[in-house]
Symmetry: C2
Subunit: 141 residues, 2 copies
């Protein structure tokens, strides 16, 4: 199991990983915009993540993720993706609301909840009638 990290730092490592995957790099300013925090806060978070061994970073240097950071990022992103799918395709929340809620819930769920939710989503994909009928009942209200 990956070492513990605060919800706040999980948000940073998640955003860093996503930006690097999308654009090949991230700058502090991108994180500032993405996470709606000041450049100063980003600077502090990067320093902390770097001290904890999740990223490589130095004064004015480029940001890269370590293996430890990659594991952490994959773990958060897995939780996020799964929750987002569940919220959007089973509870039928709209895109934005699914995303917002996933961003918060992803930091607090246990491993077994993740495991069972994963199986639930799989089972639902194989047997989609239930959630589709549920969707219909939502409309007629």
């Amino acid at each position: 199991m990956t070492k513990k990290i605060t919800a706040g730092l999980e948000d940073y490592i998640e955003a860093i990983s996503n930006k690097i995957n999308q654009y090949g790099k991230v700058r502090p300013i991108d994180l500032s915009k993405e996470l709606n925090v000041s450049r100063a806060s980003v600077s502090e978070a990067l320093k902390r993540l770097s001290e904890l061994g999740y990223i490589n970073y130095g004064r004015y240097g480029i940001i890269s993720i370590t293996d430890l950071g990659k594991k952490a990022a994959e773990s958060v992103i897995e939780r996020h993706t799964l929750l987002h799918y569940f919220l959007q395709n089973i509870l039928w929340l709209d895109e934005n609301e699914a995303s917002d809620n996933a961003c918060k819930i992803e930091h607090v769920i246990s491993y077994n909840l993740l495991k069972n939710l994963k199986k639930f989503v799989e089972y639902n994909k194989k047997n989609p009638e239930f959630s589709l009928k549920f969707k219909d009942t939502l409309k007629n209200q």
Copy 2:
């Protein structure tokens, strides 16, 4: 919609309400044990809740909940109960894990997530085959 309150204070107001419902009263020491925090932390939290108008409380006085506090407590407890049910009877987590996860998720979900989850749980109660079959697939692994 009830005014915003931090996750921490929500835990306190929830515990206060539960204890009063169970025993007719609460003392700081009960909250300290229930929430696994120091007596000092409870003291501070009670002061804050009282300043915010959620409880009536003064030095060495008895603790009672205001109408505002009752609304807040009902709101958290509703979320908790619903999540607990979902986690225990649809995702099939055991009692303790359902409870622990509900305690954390209850603080971060949106109103629409609550609303749809409520409907989902209702729908599931009327059509329980899906979750029962899902339960079987969990066993055979």
